[in-house]
């Protein structure tokens, strides 16, 4: 019982003061990684991917339609 009370009282104590500084090379991720570049990179990638895909559909459709026109004029021309 006394031991439990002692443990509970110990838990209420403020943490002991820092007696020394320990150098680390890397900061914790929460402090070292800025969020804004990650956010900008994510949205930029989405737009680049969608616009590239739109361009690729437009290019492929143009090619097919050009082939159709070429074939049409070939079949219409006298042999």
């Amino acid at each position: 019982m006394i031991a439990r009370l002692f443990v509970a009282l110990l838990a209420l104590q403020p943490p002991a003061g820092q007696s020394e500084f320990v150098p680390v090379k890397d900061l914790p991720p929460t402090e070292s990684i800025p969020a804004a570049p990650l956010l900008v990179a994510a949205y930029a990638f989405i737009w680049v991917a969608v616009l590239f895909y739109l361009w690729s559909i437009w290019r492929r459709l143009n090619k097919v339609e050009a082939d159709m026109r070429a074939l049409g004029s070939k079949t219409r021309s006298p042999r």
Binding site: I57, R60, M68
Partner: protein
Amino acid sequence: MRKLFGPLVVVAAVMFAYAPVMIAQAPFESTMGLVQKIFYFHAPSGMIMLLSAFVCGVASAIYLWRRNPAADHIAMAAAELTALFGLIVIVTGPLWARKAWGIWWDWDPRLTMSFVGWLISVSYLFVRKYGGPGSDKLGAALAVFGAANVPFVYVSVNVWRTLHPKTSVVPKLPPLLRGPFWFSFFAILVLYLLLLAARVHLERQRATLDELYLAEEES
């Protein structure tokens, strides 16, 4: 769909112009802060990826059963869009995870199964492009497996222990986060329908061109 295409382009343009305003005005999430705003396009892209894999699988099953060319055109278009939206999910997810979890990637069930789903769609496209005769049927079988993977991707966060947020996050969104999320989702859904229609049109034109070449050779 041809009559709806023009109005839907206008609707999509307006929605994509306004979505950044709504996302910017949405409050920050308490633990993740600014980087959580990736969620507004990441999660809807993931939902559209799963929808597209399902559409591809169903259209492929119809093609295997009935040999209907229209179903094959839809499957081909949906597979390409699964690969596109899957790529968006796979790139934006790690950008979010780097800040939120401190790592770019983790082989947890949700991430691994999403990656497998994306690989199936890319495999489908490779099979269709380089598979030669019979690749349509082989690709269709692959797409059915891709669709079978969809429910597993969805429930993976609820069944297994994973770093990824659970599916309950979306229905439990507070009103100030819910508005921008569903607005972004519907903007991406409209974009998906437009891209699907355009890609199906391309596939139909290719089929017409092949028929013209065959007719030209026979005459």
